[in-house]
């Protein structure tokens, strides 16, 4: 390529999400995380001789729900296939998955980057089964002396969501992944925890000279385990591929591994030879008929999607767009918001949620739903602020205690003696003490320096340990200053 060519990155994403059904997709073993290894198993998910799969109807329903949330068409006559390959985590030597006729196809998801709405087309949404979990005894897969297998995960329902190559930047990829997770969580089909692997992401990345309509050679990127990683990995890979082209090289078709610690991608295996999976229709399962009535029933029972929820919050609660979107994309936040906003001013609740509460959750590493904070706590704080019982500054300090202890704000205010001083006599006494102790600023004020008053208010606050009612303080201070000037 001529030097100075501008390159464009083209990305398609493949996301796997574990279904939050109560039982596995082809047997009745419970889906439960954290159980001792190999205790949630049966002949089916262990791939015992003679064991046969039975399709969990609920897993199909969840897949349809996900597909509808992604604006997909639903296939009325869907089929399962066997994908044959050998790997120790694959109990039967084949994975039951879908090939042609996936449950959902031809959908889309709108994402917003820098205020612009971008539509990412969804090629397919299909249902398949999880593999067992491999733990390598050693530092990495190459040097491990042996590996341990946990089949608790084997046979958990998994949906695969594949986009068209519509993504053009790392920002778009990250926005897509965030929006996809919010959508899947909103419709209750998966908890989508990237860090714990219940949501996994692969990106197919190529670059081409800007303006070209031909795709470049594809690199598949694995081990992307956070939103930050998807952004950094695509940035890195786009730059790497552009550099290869820039220097007159050819990008090899290969699978690469994102190393988050090093911040770079590394070669895993070549994709020059297509893998041979010997796909064929799964003869142990009947073709899957999905009636229009069933789809309609699922559609009617669909929970609200993030975009609709954000719009509703803007309309009904008067939230601004940013707060509304941020809250609507997280079930933790919107649940808390709705509970609290029933008892307190919506925009004020939103301000707390996207501000103090999110910050506290991030800092402590405790999710909101797992924390001691209750919606009543925030409603009470807001109410105490509105009635003038405490100031905003005190409220933040009280909040920290509530977050840490789970005690009611009113109790904390009482115990710590934090309620606001609005009593005229009490305030006037403090104000007089401050005027007496600060002749300089008082003189400045008298000389017409309006700014001096904020210093004096600050002194009153200090004297009252922040409890003085700011409006009252201001009024009384001006009265007393006027008197002192006489």
């Amino acid at each position: 390529m001529p030097a100075g060519t501008e390159y464009e990155v083209v990305v398609g994403m493949e996301v796997h999400a574990e279904l939050a059904t109560r039982s596995k997709v082809f047997c009745s073993c419970p889906v439960s995380f954290g159980a001792p290894p190999n205790t949630q198993t049966c002949p089916v998910c262990l791939g015992m001789p003679g064991a046969l799969p039975m399709l969990n109807r609920r897993a199909v329903e969840f897949t349809i729900r996900a597909a509808l949330a992604l604006n997909c068409q639903i296939t009325p006559f869907s089929k399962f296939f066997r994908k044959n390959y050998f790997y120790p985590d694959l109990a039967k030597g084949f994975q039951i998955t879908q090939f042609d006729a996936p449950i959902g196809h031809d959908g889309w998801l709108d994402v917003e980057v820098d205020g612009e709405v971008k539509r990412i087309r969804i090629r397919r949404v299909h249902l398949e089964e999880e593999t067992a979990k491999l733990t390598h005894a050693g530092d990495d897969i190459i040097t491990a002396g042996n590996s341990l297998l946990d089949f608790n995960r084997s046979g958990i329902g998994l949906i695969e969501i594949v986009t068209e190559p519509d993504i053009r930047s790392a920002e778009e990829a990250r926005a897509y992944l965030k929006k996809l997770r919010a959508t899947l969580v909103a419709v209750g089909v998966s908890d989508c925890k990237l860090e714990e692997g219940s949501m996994r992401c692969e990106a197919n990345i190529s670059v081409r000279p800007k303006g070209s309509d031909k795709y470049g050679n594809l690199v598949e990127l694995k081990n992307i385990a956070s939103f930050r990683a998807v952004y950094r990995a695509i940035q890195y890979e786009a730059a790497r591929q552009s550099q290869v082209l820039e220097s007159g090289g050819v990008v090899r078709r290969e699978t690469r591994h994102w190393d988050d610690a090093k911040g770079e991608t590394a070669f895993m295996r070549s994709k020059e030879q297509a893998a041979e999976y010997c796909y064929f229709p799964e003869p142990d399962l009947m073709p899957l008929e999905i009636s229009e009535e069933w789809v309609e029933e699922i559609r009617r029972g669909m929970p609200e999607l993030p975009d609709a929820r954000a719009a509703r919050y803007m309309r009904d609660y008067g939230l601004n767009k940013e707060d509304a979107q941020q809250i609507a994309e997280s079930k933790e936040l919107w649940w808390f918001f709705e509970q609290t906003a029933a008892k307190a001013d919506g925009p004020e609740v939103a301000k707390w949620l996207v501000g103090e509460i999110s910050a506290a959750a991030n800092a402590s590493g405790v999710e909101l739903s797992q924390s001691r904070l209750r919606p009543e706590h925030i409603a009470e704080l807001i109410s105490m602020m509105e009635s003038g019982k405490i100031s905003g500054k005190i409220a933040k300090s009280v909040f920290e205690d509530v977050w840490a202890t789970g005690k009611a704000p009113a109790d904390i205010v009482r115990e710590r003696g934090l309620s606001q001083i609005s009593d005229e006599g009490e305030l006037r006494a403090i104000v007089r003490r401050v005027i007496e102790a600060n002749p300089g600023p008082v003189q400045d004020f008298g000389a017409g320096k309006e700014r001096a008053i904020s210093f004096l208010v600050g002194q009153v606050m200090k004297e009252s340990r922040g409890r003085a009612n700011p409006q009252e303080t201001n009024r009384i201070l001006r009265e007393e200053l006027a008197r002192a000037m006489e």
């Binding site: 002949p43 262990l46 791939g47 015992m48 001789p49 003679g50 064991a51 046969l52 799969p53 039975m54 399709l55 066997r82 044959n84 050998f86 790997y87 120790p88 109990a91 039967k92 030597g93 084949f94 590996s147 297998l149 297509a274 041979e276 010997c278 796909y279 064929f280 003869p283 142990d284 399962l285 009947m286």
Partner: protein
């Protein structure tokens, strides 16, 4: 051997049991004694569960005492105390199940197949697990990794396969009835060679859960018995919907016993199809005469013979060996030495351990079929082989549906020959052609039964009846008539020589 209680049929044994003339313990003892006396020469069994059978017999005898005392004979399940043998590709909890393969030589299943649970709830007593061609891939039982089973009629000859152990056990009176599996004829061919009655039920009629898969869309579990009525009693117990097998049918299970009780007089007006393709040259002369003589007797009894044609049947062997091997290549992928079964030692990585385990664990015929199947499924060959085979399979199914519009059932010899000598057929292709009369039933999913219709040179000849989906009652009716028509020519094998 003549006073063996197991020379009596299942239905006779039940009467004697209720009359107190025989106990479950007697039956089990008779079976175990017979096995001890004969099985060294025949080799029908891989594993004999003498202790388990005796414990189960005690339990049944207590049930009998209770049923007789309370006068409620109906409360006694239909197979109470009956010693049965199970093909060793049917999982039995706590009892080794090998599929006659080195790779599962020491495999003890943690669960039982649905059909085993059903038989045991019906009072049947499992005396042991019978030999088969490795993973049911064969027509003679010679491809067992452990030993070759010999035909009780002539120990130099094969018992047929792949359920050769089950058929030989019943023929030699080592069990009253047995269970086999039939993917391309594996219940019917050994039944023909051993002079037993063997049924391949309609696909999905009997649960496959716990039965080691060979060709999933073809595999059927079927009974092997000494007579048609016993076969019907067995099917009545084995059949029915199973919530653990997605392909099993919700079709209600009718009373098969009633159909099996009819005889030649029940044939009036029954239309029996005679496919030209199944009576073409190639049938050994003695076999042809025996089958045609039986047909003639059926006609005399009032059946109407109808000429039918199955034009695509000539492709059935080719279609079968693509579909069955393709499914097998995938079904046998789970035997990788990782979770159970044979694991090759001394390899330093996972891939070569899996490869070596499979190379050591699978016999030649199994490896041949896995390779054939993988080839047919590979991306470059799928359209030309597997997909085309599936389409021809549909044509064959339509042929059968069309034929069955003109008749109630149609017939053929079960095999073109009687049992041949051990080692006589060595060419794999010649061996595959043994299944030519049986595999259409598997490809179409329809039921078919093999019933002995006489002897040729001292060896049994099998007469095969095909019916429509869930047409087992028709098969039992016609088979019972064949049984009656050939009663004069049939007898039990002479085993005094041992």
């Amino acid at each position: 051997m003549s006073e063996n209680v197991l020379d009596l049929s299942v239905h006779e044994l039940r009467r004697k049991l209720l009359q107190g003339q025989v106990t479950a313990a007697d039956m089990v003892d008779a079976a175990l004694k017979r096995i001890e006396a004969l099985d060294g020469a025949i080799g029908a069994f891989i594993t004999v569960d003498a202790e388990g059978a005796r414990v189960a017999a005690e339990k049944v005898d207590r049930m009998v005492t209770e049923a007789v005392r309370s006068g409620d004979e109906k409360a006694l399940p239909p197979l109470a105390g009956i010693p049965v043998a199970l093909k060793d590709n049917i999982c039995t909890r706590g009892l080794r199940t090998t599929a006659s393969s080195r790779i599962l030589e020491s495999f003890v299943p943690p669960y039982s197949a649905t059909v085993v649970e059903k038989l045991q709830s019906a009072g049947a007593i499992v005396v042991g697990k019978t030999n088969l061609d490795e993973f049911a891939m064969g027509s003679t039982t010679e491809s067992s990794a452990f030993h070759t089973t010999r035909n009780p009629w002539d120990l130099e000859r094969v018992p047929g396969g792949s359920s050769g152990g089950s058929a030989a056990a019943v023929a030699a009176g080592m069990a009253s009835a047995a269970v086999g599996t039939d993917t391309g004829g594996s219940v019917r061919l050994p039944s023909a060679f051993c002079g037993t009655v063997g049924l391949k039920p309609t696909y999905a009629r009997v649960s496959r859960y716990g039965v080691i898969s060979y060709g999933s869309s073809l595999d059927c579990v079927g009974p092997i018995a000494g007579n048609v009525l016993d076969c019907a009693i067995m099917l009545g117990v084995m059949a029915g919907l199973d919530p653990r097998d997605a392909t099993s049918s919700p079709e209600p299970v009718p009373d098969y016993v009633e159909s099996a009780r009819s005889g030649l007089d029940g044939l009036q007006g029954v239309r029996i199809g005679v496919p030209a393709e199944f009576f073409a040259p190639g049938i050994a002369s003695g076999v042809r005469e025996t089958v045609e003589r039986t047909l003639h007797r059926l006609e005399e009894a009032g059946a109407e013979l109808v000429d039918v044609s199955l034009p695509h049947v000539e492709y059935s062997v080719a279609v079968y060996y693509l579909v069955a091997t393709a499914e097998a290549s995938s079904n046998l992928a789970r035997y990788d030495g990782v979770r159970y079964g044979l694991r090759a030692e001394g390899k330093d990585d996972v891939g070569s351990t899996i490869a070596a385990s499979r190379t050591e664990g699978f016999g030649q015929e199994v490896q041949r079929r896995i390779l054939l199947g993988s080839h047919a499924l590979s991306a470059g060959n799928y359209a030309a082989y597997f997909d085309k085979a599936m389409r021809v399979r549909t044509l064959i199914r339509r042929d059968i549906e069309a034929a069955l519009e003109k008749c109630d059932c149609f017939v053929s010899p079960t095999s073109s020959t009687t049992a041949f000598k051990i080692g006589e057929v060595r060419d794999p292709l010649a061996m595959y052609l043994q299944d030519i009369y049986t595999i259409v039933a598997n490809l179409a999913g329809v039921p078919a039964i093999s019933v002995p219709c006489g002897l040729h040179q001292g060896l049994p000849v099998g007469f095969q009846v095909f019916g429509p989906m869930f047409g087992e009652p028709t098969l039992f009716r016609v088979a019972a008539a064949v049984e009656q028509a050939s009663a004069g020519e049939m007898r039990r094998p002479k085993l005094e020589v041992m």
